[in-house]
Amino acid sequence: MKNRLKVLRAERDWTQAQLAQELEVSRQTVNAIEKGKFDPSLPLAFKAARLFGLRIEEVFQDD
C-alpha cells in the first residue's frame, strides 16, 4: 500500500516525532509506514486522514 504521509507531513513542516505524537504511535511506526514497510490498520489510517483533513483514499492508495 502506498501513502502520501511523508509529503503531507512535510507540507505542514511536522517532524516524524510530532506526527507520531498526534497519532499516538511511536516514531519508528510513522517511519515504517512512510517507507511502506508497514501497512497501518484501518482505525490508524482513518486517524491519519482525519488529522490531515483528507479522505482516507487521498492519503493511502492500493499498490
Binding site: Q21, E24, S26, T29
Partner: protein, 140 residues
Amino acid sequence: MSTSNTDNAGWAERNTHNTKRLAVWTGAWLVTMAVAVYGPQLVWESNPTLTLLALAANLIVGTGMILANKTHLQGLDELQQRIQLDAMALALGVGLVVGLAYSTADITNLIQFDAEISHLVMLLGLTYLVGVLLGRRKYQ
C-alpha cells in the same frame, strides 16, 4: 496540531510508565525466585513452611508480573505489538522444538548431563531477544 498535544504526550508517558512497572514486577519476581531457591539452602535450612511461603510469594508476584506484561503489551502501538508477537512466536516455536529435542537427548542418554529447565528458559529469553531485534531491524 498542538490542541491535543497534552493527551497525545500521555500515550508515550503511559508506555514509559507501563515499561517501568513491568521492570519493577520482573525484578520483584526474580527476588522472590532467588529467595525460594536459595532460602532453604542458605537461610532457613529446609523448613518446609518457610519454603512453601517463599514459593507462594513467588507465584503471587509472578502473577503480578504476567498482568504487568499484559498491560505493557496492550499499551504498545500496532507495529510494536506485531514485533512482539513475531518475537514471542519465534521464542515459543524454538523453545518447543529445541526443548523437546533436548529432553529426548537426555532421556535417551545421548547427553551425559541432565537437561535443566533453566537452559530452556535461557533459550527462550535469548530467542525472544533475537526476535525483537530482527523485528526492529525489519521495520527500520
